[in-house]
Symmetry: C2
Subunit: 335 residues, 2 copies
DNA sequence: CTGAAAGCGCTTACAG
DNA sequence: CTGAAAGCGCTTACAG
C-alpha cells in the first residue's frame, strides 16, 4: 500500500464490512476472535493508523491540549514544556504550543486560535502584562477545562500547578545560616513579579526565624534579571561591612556575582557563601560549583498535563492547587 | 444560542440550504449579495466559527505542522522552536511538537503519531541514533513534505535548513590563529554526529589554510557532550607541550575546560586561549567571559517553517539547502 | 444564484 | 458475531 491505508482497504481485503474492522480494532468483545486477529494482523502489516481527524469529528474531541507560555526559550519553560510533551505523548494527547512573548494581546490571540482548533483543554502560564482572565474564560464558556501553571492569576478559579518558591528560598537562606552566615544579602529580581516577591519573602522569613535582623542595605533588586544584575550586586557589596553570604534570584545572576566577588580579591566560599536559584546547566560547571535551588520544571509540566487530562476526562470536578517542592543542590560555593 | 453554532442552524434560521450558507461564508462570487449579507450578519451575531475538524476532513489538510526534535529543553532547540512557533502563528499554521529524547524508536513513534494526525508537513531534527530515514520516508509516501533542520540525514533528499557550523568553526579557529596560537587543540562532540564532524572539519581546514600541522594528540572527542567533557579535556592537556588555544564543541564544555585549566594554575587567555560554540547565556557571565560562536537558532526555526509552508502550498518543487551564517562573539577568553 | 447529493474516514446504535 | 445505515460538520461538483 503506498497510499494511506483506511478502514475500507482492510475491509475490502478481508471481505468484511467497515464496521467490523472498526470494532475489531478497538472492541475486544462482540467480535469473532479469528476475524479480530485477521484484522489486527493486516492492520499491522499495512501500518494502519486511524485517521485522527475523522475520529475527532465523530467523537467530538480532538485529544489536543493547547498550551500558552510567556516564552519557549527559557530554561524553566522549556523544561516544563518537555515534561508536558512526554506526559501528553504517553497518554496519546497532543500539544499545540503558543508563546505570548510576554504580551497580553498575543496571549489572547493565541487562546482564541487554539480554541478554534477545538482543543480539549487549555494549559496556560500568563504573561507579565496579564491582569484579568477575560479571554481565558472564553474557554470555560466552550466547556474547555483550564489549568494554570507557574505564573497563575490569583483571581481566576481553576486548577493550578505551581512551585513553592517561597519554601525554596527559605531553605536556601536557612542553609546559609547553618553554614554560619549572619550578614546575608539578597540580590532579587524585578520587584513587580510574583517570582521575585515569593523568593524575597522566603529570604526574609528565614532571617526572622533565626532572629537575624533584616538589613535593607543588603537587599537590592535588578530591573530585569541578568541584564543589570551587576548593578544590583555592586549595591549590596559597597558597604564597609561586607555580606558573608548572598542569596541570588537566579543562577545567572549568581555567576555574575561570583566573578565580581573574586575580582575584588575575595574568595568563595571562605569569605562569602553563594546560593543561586534554578539549577541551570552552567551552575555545576562554574568554579566554584554553585549551590542552587532546583525547580522541578519537568515535573510541573508533567503534573499540569496530568491533571488537565483528568479534568478533560471528568475524573475530577473540583479545582485543586498543586504545589511542588524545590530541592536544594549543595555545591562548593556554600561549603 | 448557547450550544456551538453550526452551519445548519444558520441555514434553518434563514430558510436556505447549508450549501448556500457555506458558500456565502467564503465565496464572494456566485452568491446573491443579499443572501450573503444575511448569512454574514447572523454568523457574526451568533459568533459562528467553522468547525476546524470538519473542514480538515473535507479539505484533506489540517494546517498542522509536525515537529520532532531530539530534545525541547536545550538552549539551541528551544530557540529554534521559538522561531518556528512565531512563524507558524503568523501564517495561521499550528505546530505539534514531539521530542525523541535522542532515541530512534521514540523518533519513529513520534513521526507515526504525527502522521496519524494528518499533519500537512514534517519538520525534523534527527536523534543521535538515527542512521536511516525509513520511517521519515513514510511521510513522503503519504505526500507529506519533509524539511530537516540542524541535525540532517545526508542521504535523505529533502529541503534542509542548517547552520554553517563548518564556517563558524573555521572562523573561530582562524581567530585563535590570528591571536597567535600555534598549538590549537579541539575538544569535539560525539564523533558520529554531523555537528561534530562539521565543526571538526572547520578546525582542520583553518589549520591547513594557515599551514599549521594537525596534531592528532590535540584532538579528542567526548562521547556525549557535557557529561564526559572533562575526560576529553584532560586528554588534550596531558602532553608535556600544552596547547596554547582550544576550540571547544560547545560552551558548557568550554566552561568545564576553563575551570580545569585554571585549577592547573594556568591562566586564560594568557597561557591558553579558549573559544566555545553556542553563545549560551552563561558564556557572557563566566570569568573570563567566553569567546564563542553564536548560532542563529531563532532564524533557523523561522526559516524552516517558512520553507516547509512553501512546499506544502506547492510554491516550490525542488529541494533546497539553506545554510545560515554564525557570528563570532569575541570576549576575554581569547583576547 | 441555489439546492440536493455525495463524500471526507470513522463510530455506533440497530437489526438480524 | 456481523453488516447496513445514519451521522459527525463541512465542502464541492453537478443540475437546474
Amino acid at each position: 500500500m503506498s497510499r494511506t491505508v483506511i478502514l475500507k482497504d482492510i475491509a475490502k481485503a478481508l471481505n468484511i464490512s467497515v464496521s467490523t474492522v472498526s470494532r475489531a480494532l478497538r472492541n475486544a468483545r462482540d467480535i469473532n476472535p479469528k476475524t479480530r486477529q485477521a484484522v489486527l494482523d493486516l492492520a499491522k502489516e499495512w501500518n494502519y493508523e486511524p485517521n485522527f481527524i475523522a475520529q475527532s469529528l465523530v467523537k467530538k474531541h480532538t485529544r489536543i491540549i493547547g498550551v500558552v507560555v510567556p516564552t519557549i526559550n527559557s530554561n524553566y519553560f522549556s523544561e516544563a514544556l518537555s515534561g508536558m510533551t512526554d506526559c501528553a505523548f504517553e497518554q496519546d494527547y497532543h500539544l499545540m504550543i503558543c508563546q505570548s512573548n510576554e504580551t497580553e494581546s498575543m496571549e489572547n490571540r493565541s487562546i482564541r486560535k487554539l480554541l478554534s482548533c477545538n482543543i480539549d483543554g487549555l494549559l496556560i502560564s500568563v504573561s507579565k502584562e496579564t491582569k484579568n482572565a477575560a479571554v481565558i474564560s472564553e474557554a470555560y464558556r466552550k466547556n474547555v477545562p483550564v489549568v494554570m501553571f507557574d505564573r497563575v492569576l490569583p483571581g481566576f478559579e481553576c486548577t493550578k500547578v505551581i512551585v513553592d518558591e517561597y519554601d525554596g528560598a527559605f531553605k536556601a537562606v536557612e542553609h546559609l545560616i547553618r553554614k554560619g552566615c549572619r550578614r546575608i544579602a539578597h540580590v532579587g529580581g524585578p520587584p513587580e513579579l510574583s517570582v521575585s516577591q515569593n523568593r524575597k519573602q522566603g529570604y526574609l522569613d528565614a532571617l526572622k526565624k533565626h532572629n537575624i535582623p533584616v538589613r535593607p542595605e543588603l537587599i537590592s533588586h535588578s530591573k530585569s534579571f541578568e541584564e543589570d544584575a551587576l548593578v544590583a550586586i555592586k549595591k549590596v557589596m559597597k558597604h564597609s561591612e561586607l555580606p558573608d553570604g548572598i542569596f541570588f534570584i537566579n543562577d545567572l545572576s549568581a555567576i555574575a556575582g561570583i566573578n565580581y566577588i573574586r575580582k575584588k580579591g575575595l574568595s568563595i566560599p571562605e569569605d562569602i557563601k553563594i546560593v543561586g536559584f534554578n539549577n541551570d546547566a552552567a551552575s555545576a560547571l562554574v568554579d566554584p560549583a554553585l549551590t542552587t535551588v532546583m525547580q522541578p520544571g519537568y515535573e510541573v509540566g508533567k503534573l499540569a498535563v496530568g491533571v488537565l487530562i483528568d479534568e478533560i476526562q471528568k475524573k475530577t470536578d473540583s479545582y485543586k492547587l498543586f504545589e511542588l517542592r524545590t530541592n536544594l543542590v549543595v555545591r562548593k560555593s556554600s561549603k
